[in-house]
Amino acid sequence: MQNSQMEAVTLADLGPGQSGCVVKVADDALGHNLAAMGLVRGATVSLNRTAPMGNPRIYAIKGYQLSLRNEDARKVLLRLS
């Protein structure tokens, strides 16, 4: 636990080709919505693509592609893998 806390980054910090494991999702309406879309604790997620102006970005999660704005992706804490 101690170790994972130290390396925790948000989904928005994920670099091209990097992937991570979801540690925590914000406890608000958006967080609940993201959880329903598959961003739950323990899920693996990777960055696929970035839009023309650097935002939004497309992530691969649960075998499909999900597009999120960077400000919304900050709601998801990751441990890099």
Binding site: H32, M53, G63, Q65
Partner: protein
């Protein structure tokens, strides 16, 4: 099958994620056989159709595509309420076989609701190509209901789907052993405690499954269920304590724990029932390559713009050929009727009222059909979602949501369904802004007006003028969105959570169906509103029959006729006849109405005929052209409508009229849609006042600029 089962119509609801092929299945099932009844989509209620299968009537209900039953968006709410309150006999849960992980999330909620279910593993062929194999027998016992492999586009498995529905609804069939989604020990303990309390409050009212579902919903903090149980203070209190304790101990809310639990259940289930081949199939590689180009950081947006341009260009250039054919057909019919019918009021009504109005509008059918072909193509392939992704940042600058692209593009087809499409946008504020600005999109009904004026006044640059109108419509929509988001609808930015569906080759059938549906809608409008409108306008301009003219034209003409023939005589005769016709029109009921309202448009120099066309356009925008067609039918019968109106305005006025016609008032159907989506008449009033004011002001500015510059 017992007798009493036969009498009742079976209700079968289709539910599933967006892009799961739900609507394709619905259309396939509904159209492959004779439909017994057809109910148009009303308000937020789902699409329904009664079909017959093996002698049994089945009412199919197409629920909106949703990811969850948590009632966070209006669509989720509609879906959940339908299943919970209407209690359909069977729910068909359509799953995307290539994306079971997420598709099954909704299924876990259906399992908990305990409704009789059938699971359709749709797009089974696509999953197989992806190297996915699924053990359906294992799934049947784990999901607690039949599992049927289907391919919506080819119709494979759909018969078996209906067979299974009949079987499950038959009381003689033994029920499937019920399954439940298990959560971790702490959650389960909390569920049990709440359930015990529920059983105490509602003794013998609920099955074990129902009380478990209620307990889970309460623990998930479902507002609506909490309100419904509001009378039971002790229950609400207990739930509140359970939720708080859980969060304290686990550093995670109940909502998130339930979501994680559901995905855990799905993970375990798929570990057993699914095998995925390790190698990446060619198709997936191809999709990635296509996205590399279409979503390219520099090329993505230029490609999007080019595709839009190709769409409009093709709509006009390709549409011109069939339009000419229809036009000559209408002319031929008009000529034929003119030669065989004796001169009478009926003949006049038929030729100058009905044929002029209906014929003048119907010539635009090819343009409408081609436009809808492209819209269907973009949405069927999955490109529209990519457009939303590419444009989100840009749209964000205008206070809009990337997903607003979908209603805005659809608005080029028809505003009313486009406004319904705003439901996919998460935030209420974004939704209202989008509903308010979508009516500025130049819909296919306004296209005829634009083409008529562009052709009549700017014939050398007609195509560019129409394209300019399209640009103006999007600029106005975006500009108004900024204004609204900075003033009347200011609040926090809202999230953008969107799935990018895999590319799919559009089925020709689906595209043709979409085109046909919209062409039929257009023809229906021409056959109803336009037909009636043309007749009404004709009557209003023909009556009253007795008019006191300012001078005795007939006497003057008779006197002229007795003079020796000369060029002067001919021109004088023409002048007198035209003068008489003009006065007759002006003194007709229509003329009087037009004259009464005309002062509003006086500053722009629009005449009363233009005023009448504007007024009729409020009912349906196609009526503008139909009105012109009827109004000018008599005066210049041999020449086309375009040349008839070409002399009536200067270019600046014509341009001002196009802008006015583009922006003023949403039509009645659109007003109804705004009322539904924005939720109050207040926003309808705002929309009407804003668009009228804007249209009037812009038109005035253009006319005055024209005066200075020309």
């Amino acid at each position: 099958m017992t007798h009493d089962v036969k009498i009742k119509t079976l209700t079968v609801a289709l539910t599933g994620n967006p892009n799961s092929g739900k609507t394709t299945i619905f259309n396939k099932l509904a159209n492959a056989r004779e439909s017994v009844g057809n109910y148009p989509r009303v308000t937020i209620a789902p699409r329904e159709r009664v079909i017959e299968h093996r002698g049994r009537q089945i009412m199919l209900v197409d629920l909106p595509g949703i990811y969850s039953l948590s009632a966070r968006t209006p669509e989720e709410q509609a879906g959940r309420d339908y299943i919970h309150f209407k209690r359909p006999d069977v729910v068909i849960n359509i799953l995307d076989s290539g994306n079971l992980d997420r598709s099954l999330f909704l299924t876990t909620q259906l399992i908990e609701m305990g409704c009789p279910r059938i699971h359709a593993l749709n797009m089974f062929d696509e999953a197989r190509r992806k190297g996915i194999s699924i053990d359906t027998t294992a799934l049947v016992s784990m999901l607690g209901g039949p599992v049927i492999e289907t391919v919506a586009t080819t119709g494979e498995g759909l018969e078996r789907l209906l067979d299974a529905a009949l079987e499950i609804a038959n009381p003689a069939t033994p029920p499937h052993p019920s399954v439940s989604v298990g959560y971790d020990a702490h959650l389960e303990a909390a569920i049990e405690r709440v359930r015990a309390q529920i059983t105490e409050l509602h003794p013998q009212e609920m099955s074990a499954q129902q009380s478990r579902w209620l307990a889970i919903k309460l623990l998930e903090g479902d507002d609506e269920i909490l309100t419904r149980e509001g009378e039971h203070k002790e229950l609400i209190e207990q739930v509140g304590t359970e939720r708080a304790t859980f969060k304290q101990h686990h550093d995670e809310s109940c909502e998130l724990a339930f979501a994680a639990g559901r995905y855990g259940f799905i993970h375990g289930l798929l570990m057993e029932a699914r095998t995925v081949s390790a190698e990446i199939p060619d198709e997936a590689m191809l999709h990635t390559r296509v996205d590399d180009i279409l979503l390219h950081r520099w090329l993505g947006l230029p490609i999007l713009l080019s595709l839009m341009w190709v769409m409009f260009e093709t709509t006009f250039t390709l549409g011109a050929y069939p339009t000419d054919i229809i036009k000559s057909g209408v002319d031929a019919l008009s000529g034929f009727l003119g030669s065989i019918l004796p001169d009478s009021m009926i003949k006049d009504l038929l030729l100058n009222g009905v044929l002029a109005g209906v014929g003048g509008t119907i010539v635009f059918l090819p343009n409408v059909v081609i436009l809808f072909f492209f819209l269907a193509l973009f949405s069927e392939t999955g490109y529209i979602a990519r457009g939303a992704f590419l444009l989100d940042r840009l749209m964000h600058l205008f206070g809009l949501h990337g997903k607003a692209l979908i209603p805005l593009i659809m608005g080029y087809g028809c505003n009313a369904p486009a406004i319904m499409a705003t439901r996919t946008i998460e935030g209420r504020r974004s939704r209202i802004i989008t509903s308010l600005v979508t009516p500025f999109m130049c819909c296919s009904a306004r296209l005829p007006v634009m083409m008529l004026f562009a052709g009549a006044f700017f014939s050398a640059h007609a195509g560019s003028m129409v394209f300019a109108m399209y640009l103006l419509s999007i600029v106005t929509a975006l500009g108004s969105a900024i204004l609204f988001s900075k003033t009347v609808l200011r609040s926090m930015p809202e999230p953008f959570v969107m799935e990018l569906p895999p590319y799919r080759l559009p089925s020709i059938r689906a595209v043709l169906f979409h085109m046909w549906e919209n062409a039929a809608g257009f023809l229906q409008k021409v056959g109803s509103v336009i037909l009636v409108g043309s007749i009404v306008i004709w009557f209003l301009q023909e009556f009253p029959r007795e008019i006191t003219f300012s001078q005795n034209y007939d006497a003057a003409l008779t006197e002229l006729a007795s003079q020796p023939a000369s060029d002067e005589r001919v021109s004088e005769e023409e002048r007198l006849t035209a003068e008489r016709d003009r006065e007759k029109l002006e003194k007709s009921y229509l003329g009087r109405i037009g004259m009464a309202v005309a002062p509003v448009f006086e500053p722009m120099g629009f005449g009363w005929k233009d005023t009448v066309a504007i007024l009729t356009g409020v009912v349906a925008k196609e009526a503008v052209v139909a009105s012109y067609a009827v109004l000018y039918a008599q005066s210049k019968e041999s020449e086309g409508l375009m040349s008839a109106i070409s002399g009536t305005m200067n270019p600046a006025q014509a341009f001002a009229f196009m802008v006015f016609a583009l922006l003023y008032l949403p039509c009645l159907a659109t007003i109804g849609a705004i009322r539904r989506e924005a939720g109050s008449w207040k926003w309808v009033g705002f929309s009407v006042a804003y668009s009228l004011g804007l249209a009037w002001t812009l038109a005035l500015i253009i006319v005055n600029l024209g005066r200075v510059l020309l």
